[in-house]
C-alpha cells in the first residue's frame, strides 16, 4: 500500500471492501476455501451437523410409522411445533431473497459479499420448511400429491380457497425461483472453479455446472439481463410468500389469528429473522475463514440497521395487537390477549418481548452494530424470539379460543424437539457442505467491487 492512509471522512460510508484487494487476491482467497485440503475443523463440523441430522431421520421415520400423535398435539391445539417450525424456516429464507433481489434492484453494493451464502441459506431454509407441511399431515403419503392440481380419477381438484393450497404454490414458486436465481449467480463462479480445479473429476463437475461459461461480453450481457429479470420476479415474492404464509392464520377465525395486520407483520418479521440468521451464519464464516476484508464494518452496520428497522416494525405489530384487543371490545379478543400476557404461557410472551423488542434496542448503539460478538449474540436472541413469536401465535391462540370446555394445554414431546433439531442439523449440514464445494462469497461480484473501487480511485485521484 503506497499512498498514505486516507483521512476518514465521516460523510462517506464505510468501505464495502477491505483495502488492497485485487482480482487475484479475491479469486485466490475465495476459491482457496474450496480447493485447499479439507481442514479438520470442517470435517469435525460436518460430523457434528451430521449427527444432529440423524435426529431428523429418526424423528421423521418414527413419525411416519406411528403418526402425528407422537407430538404434543391435541384437540384444540391441532398445530404445534411443525407449523411453528415451518413458518420460522420460511421466514428465515426471506432475507436471502431480499439481499439477492431487492438490494440488487436498489443497486446496493454491500450486498455483493453476503448474497451468496444468504441465498444458500434461503434454499436450505426453504427445504427445511418444506418438510414440515408434508410431515405434519396425518397422511403424508397422499398429501404429497393430492395438494397438487392434476386431473385425477376422482374428478376432484384441490380446494383453492384454502390458504394451505396457496402455500403450496407460494412456497413452490419461491423455492423454484430462488433456486434458479442462486444457480444463475453461481455460473460464473463455477467457471472460475473449473479453471482453478486441480483434479479431472472436479473440473468436469464444475464444468458441467458452469454450462460452458466463457466470460465473454455476450455471456455477461445475458447474465445481467437474466439476473435483473429474476430479481424482478423475486422481489414481489419476498413480500408475497410470507404474506401468504401469514394468511394461513388470518383466514382462520380464532382470536389471535384473525388479524389483518399479519401479512406486513409477518413479512417484517421474516426479514428480521432472516437477517438475524444471516448474521448467525455469516459472522462465524467470516471469523473462521478470515473474510474480514469482504464482510466489513459496513456490512455489519447495515445489517444491524435493517434488523433494528424490521424489529421496530415487529414491535409495532405487538403493540397494535394489544391495542386492538382492547379497542375492539370483543370479549374473545380481549381474553386472548389477556391470556397471552398473563396466562399459563405468559413466560413465553415476556421472553418474546425480551428477545425481539428489548434486547435488539441495543442496535441503536453504533458500537454494538460494529461488534461481531455483539451482533452474534443479538442475532441468536432474535432467532429464538422469532421462534417464540410463532409459538405464541400458533399455540396460545389455539389453546383457549371460543368454547371454554375445549381449553387445554400443549405439552411438547421429545419428538417435537427431535424433528426441529434434526432440521437444524440438516440446515447446518447443507451449509457446511456448501461452504466447501461452492464459493461462499460471490467471487465475480467482489471482483466487480474491485473494478468499481479502482475506477473510483482513478476518478478520485483525477479529482485530487
Amino acid at each position: 500500500m503506497g499512498s498514505p492512509a486516507p483521512i476518514k471522512d465521516p460523510t462517506m460510508p464505510a468501505p464495502v471492501l477491505g483495502p488492497g484487494q485485487t482480482y487475484t487476491t479475491v479469486t485466490q482467497k475465495l476459491s482457496a476455501i474450496i480447493t485447499s485440503r479439507t481442514p479438520l475443523g470442517w470435517i469435525a463440523a460436518m460430523l457434528i451437523a451430521g449427527a444432529i441430522l440423524q435426529l431428523l431421520m429418526l424423528s421423521a421415520t418414527w413419525l411416519l410409522i406411528k403418526g402425528t400423535g407422537i407430538w404434543g398435539l391435541n384437540i384444540p391445539v391441532g398445530w404445534g411445533w411443525a407449523i411453528i417450525n415451518f413458518v420460522w424456516w420460511i421466514g428465515i429464507g426471506h432475507a436471502g431473497t431480499l439481499i439477492s433481489a431487492i438490494l440488487l434492484l436498489m443497486r446496493q453494493q454491500w450486498r455483493n459479499s453476503i448474497n451468496r451464502f444468504a441465498e444458500a441459506m434461503t434454499i436450505f431454509a426453504v427445504m427445511c420448511a418444506g418438510m414440515f407441511p408434508l410431515l405434519h399431515t396425518g397422511r403424508p403419503w397422499v398429501a404429497a400429491y393430492w395438494l397438487l392440481p392434476y386431473p385425477n380419477t376422482m374428478s376432484v381438484w384441490p380446494q383453492f380457497r384454502s390458504p394451505l393450497i396457496w402455500d403450496v404454490f407460494a412456497v413452490g414458486t419461491y423455492f423454484t425461483v430462488s433456486l434458479i436465481f442462486w444457480y444463475l449467480g453461481l455460473i460464473p463462479d463455477f467457471a472460475t472453479l473449473r479453471d482453478k480445479a486441480k483434479h479431472k473429476i472436479s473440473q468436469i463437475i464444475y464444468g458441467v455446472l458452469s454450462m460452458g461459461w466463457r466470460g465473454s461480453a455476450k455471456h455477461w450481457f445475458n447474465y445481467e439481463m437474466a439476473a435483473l429479470l429474476l430479481a424482478g420476479v423475486s422481489t414481489p415474492l419476498v413480500l408475497s410468500v410470507h404474506s401468504i404464509v401469514s394468511l394461513d392464520f388470518s383466514v382462520g377465525l380464532i382470536p389471535g389469528w384473525h388479524a389483518t395486520i399479519f401479512p406486513p407483520y409477518f413479512v417484517a418479521g421474516a426479514v428480521y429473522a432472516g437477517f438475524a440468521m444471516v448474521l448467525t451464519l455469516g459472522l462465524p464464516i467470516r471469523y473462521f475463514y478470515g473474510l474480514h476484508d469482504y464482510i466489513t464494518d459496513r456490512h455489519l452496520n447495515n445489517m444491524g440497521k435493517v434488523m433494528l428497522a424490521t424489529g421496530l416494525i415487529v414491535a409495532y405489530g405487538y403493540a397494535m395487537e394489544q391495542f386492538f384487543a382492547w379497542y375492539s371490545a370483543s370479549p374473545y379478543e380481549g381474553y386472548m390477549m389477556q391470556n397471552r400476557t398473563f396466562g399459563p404461557y405468559s413466560g413465553t410472551y415476556w421472553s418474546l418481548i425480551l428477545c425481539n423488542v428489548a434486547i435488539p434496542q441495543l442496535l441503536w448503539i453504533k458500537q454494538v452494530r460494529l461488534s461481531p460478538s455483539g451482533l452474534f449474540i443479538i442475532s441468536m436472541f432474535i432467532n429464538v424470539g422469532m421462534w417464540l413469536e410463532r409459538f405464541i401465535i400458533v399455540v396460545t391462540s389455539l389453546h383457549r379460543d371460543f368454547m371454554p370446555s375445549s381449553w387445554d394445554m400443549y405439552h411438547s414431546t421429545p419428538w417435537d424437539w427431535g424433528l426441529y433439531a434434526g432440521t437444524i442439523g440438516f440446515f447446518l449440514f447443507m451449509m457446511i457442505l456448501f461452504i466447501r464445494v461452492m464459493p461462499v462469497i460471490n467471487i465475480f461480484e467482489i471482483r466487480q467491487l474491485v473494478a468499481n473501487k479502482s475506477k473510483h480511485a482513478e476518478t478520485a485521484s483525477a479529482d485530487d
Binding site: Y150, P151, N152, T153, M154, S155, V156, R194, D195, Q203, I204, G207, M211, G212
Partner: protein
C-alpha cells in the same frame, strides 16, 4: 489449456433441455394415468374363479334373468352372489357328475361357501346402493357390460369415481325405462319400438322418474 468437453457439448446441452421437458412430461402423464390403465383397474381382465361359471351359457343359453341369482338387487344395496342352494336348484339334476361342478357339490355338502373372486369391488369407504339405481332405471348392462356374452366375468368399466360422476352429472345419457333394466339387448327406443335418441328418451325419463342424482360427497362416502 486443453478443452474439457467435446465440441458438441453446447448443442447437447441445448437439446437436453427439450429432452428433459419431453421425458418429464411423458413421465408425469403416464404416472397420473396409472389409475386409468387396464392393468391397474382390471378392466377386460377375466378373473379365475373356483368354478368357471359362464354367464354367457346361463343367460343367453339357458335364459336365466339376472334376478334368478342376484335376488336382492331391487331391495338392497348389495347385489348378492347366490347361495349354493340356488346353483343346486338345477345342478342337483343336471351335470351331476361334472368334475367342474365338484366345488359346488362340495359346498352344498359341507356348508362352506364357495370363495368366489370378486370382480366388481369398490373400496370400503364407498357405499354403493344397487336398489336405488335399479329403481331409477339404470340397466345392469350400463355398468356391467354385456354380461350375457361373457364366458367368464370381467369388468368393462373402471368403476373410478370420475366414471360414476359422468352419469351422476348427466344421467339422461344412461337411463332407460324401468322395465328394460334387466334387458341385456336394449337399445334406446320409444314405446312403439322405434329407435330414438338416448338424449330425448333420457330427458323424458329424468322427469318421469324424478331423477336428480346427488353429487354431494355423503351420497357415497359415509
Amino acid at each position: 489449456m486443453a478443452q474439457l468437453f467435446p465440441r458438441g457439448s453446447n448443442a447437447f446441452a441445448r437439446i437436453s433441455i427439450v429432452v428433459v421437458l419431453v421425458v418429464v412430461g411423458t413421465g408425469l402423464t403416464i404416472l397420473l394415468n396409472t389409475n386409468r390403465l387396464h392393468y391397474t383397474t382390471d378392466v377386460q381382465v377375466a378373473k379365475k374363479q373356483p368354478v368357471p361359471f359362464s354367464h354367457k351359457h346361463h343367460v343367453t343359453g339357458v335364459g336365466l334373468d339376472c334376478r334368478y341369482c342376484h335376488t336382492s338387487v331391487e331391495e338392497s344395496s348389495f347385489a348378492n352372489i347366490p347361495p349354493v342352494e340356488t346353483c343346486m336348484t338345477c345342478h342337483s339334476q343336471i351335470w351331476t357328475e361334472s368334475p367342474l361342478l365338484e366345488p359346488i357339490r362340495e359346498s352344498y355338502r359341507t356348508g362352506n361357501p364357495i370363495e368366489w373372486v370378486r370382480v366388481h369391488d369398490l373400496p370400503d369407504f364407498v357405499y354403493f346402493n344397487h336398489s336405488i339405481h335399479v329403481h331409477k332405471g339404470i340397466g345392469c348392462q350400463t355398468c356391467h357390460g354385456q354380461v350375457d356374452q361373457m364366458p367368464l366375468m370381467w369388468k368393462v368399466n373402471t368403476l373410478n369415481m370420475e366414471w360414476c360422476l359422468e352419469c351422476h352429472r348427466e344421467p339422461e345419457k344412461y337411463v332407460r325405462p324401468r322395465e328394460e333394466v334387466f334387458n341385456m339387448a336394449w337399445k334406446p327406443m320409444d314405446e312403439r319400438g322405434h329407435a330414438v335418441s338416448q338424449a330425448l328418451l333420457g330427458a323424458q325419463l329424468i322427469q318421469d322418474y324424478d331423477i336428480n342424482p346427488s353429487t354431494d360427497c355423503s351420497t357415497c362416502h359415509r
